[in-house]
Symmetry: C2
């Protein structure tokens, strides 16, 4: 795998932070400063950044612009991935409207739904197409990424259509485990599991007062 999952997850954080620095006109930064602001230990940041292949200068630190570029290249944000989204409900609409995704290498090119009311509509400049067309279109347009924002009941079925259309990675917002061939990359965005730890911590708070934690994500 190369890079540990936690490091991978921290890279966008650095990216975001570095962009703020850049906007302020700061063009050089040390790990100790990043660590101070992001609440991480400098060594960890250094390790994380090394995966991107960047090298810093002792005493000076890293060049902000270079570092931003290195992270973007490493994460593949330069070559934009085109994606299909299935499920033009509230959540789907929210994602379709997320202009900033394009900065992160993602462009949602079309939406799909089964609801005849929705088909043919334009949402945030993207056409809603009938689900039957997904597999065929994915093949013809060489789409490799699928996003599922449909109800849990339909998710498995949608995933199968995606796979049959040659889609290689699925970003799944439905609260179900998808059953797909092992070579397909599945990334579950499970709000319930997220909510679970939050509510557990909150419940703890009221049982054992003054216990503090602050852990995020």
């Amino acid at each position: 795998m190369g890079i540990p999952q936690p490091s991978l997850n921290r890279l966008p954080q650095y990216h975001h932070y570095l962009n703020q620095l850049k906007a302020k006109g700061i063009n050089t930064v040390s790990c100790s400063l990043i660590g101070l602001d992001l609440n991480l230990v400098p060594v960890q940041i250094r390790k994380d950044l090394q995966y991107t292949g960047i090298v810093g200068k002792p005493k000076t630190g890293y060049a902000v612009a270079e570092l931003i570029a290195a992270i973007e290249t490493f994460l593949g944000w330069n070559n934009v991935q085109e994606a299909f989204l299935v499920g033009a409900g509230n959540l789907g609409t929210a994602l379709l409207g997320h202009e900033r995704f394009s900065t992160f290498g993602l462009r949602i090119v079309a939406a799909f739904d089964t609801d005849p009311e929705k088909i043919g509509q334009w949402i945030h400049g993207k056409m809603v197409l009938p689900l039957e067309k997904l597999a065929d279109l994915a093949k013809r347009m060489s789409i490799h990424l699928g996003i599922i924002t449909a109800p849990a009941e339909c998710a498995q079925w949608i995933a199968e259509k995606m796979v049959s259309g040659g889609i290689q990675a699925i970003w799944n917002f439905a609260p179900v485990r998808l059953n797909v061939p092992p070579e397909i990359i599945v990334h579950n965005e499970d709000l319930y599991s997220s909510l679970a730890s939050l509510s557990w911590k909150l419940a703890q708070r009221f049982n054992i007062p003054f216990q503090q934690d602050g852990g995020s994500n």
Copy 2:
């Protein structure tokens, strides 16, 4: 802390799976079966379940209904948390409409926004109120959980209002680190960091073909 974060995150998965079993009329289950279906090793499941305080019977396994109840109690899903949501945009609307949250101990009781167009509207049965009223209402209604679905620029400011209203935990969907007192529980739902690992894996796929992984979440 008691329970490791990864175990905590797996509990809702078990919960979901067990409910499926229950619906099928199965009322006893072994860790090996769960592991087979959820792609986890039995020992790990046993460890995870032990945190909920449940005990199984050798040879038989666990009683499904008991297990479900144990997880729910452990996660605090029995005492429903009331929450305020700020940012009645697409994502906010999606969350407001998520009926199933109530099963997971969460009830969003009101939405807030600064947009005069939105204030006064009803979204999925919840009134959109002006943001200025948040702190005061949170105190009077003893709300302890706040959800931020507003743009990144406003998130910090909203968080401060929440804290001043006595809110103890923030579920943050805006892509920024919030600066709040250490005793406040912050849980970041960072789509970009999620997207980062997905796009990295996908990029890898095209660089080094036939490398497979399948890791989720």
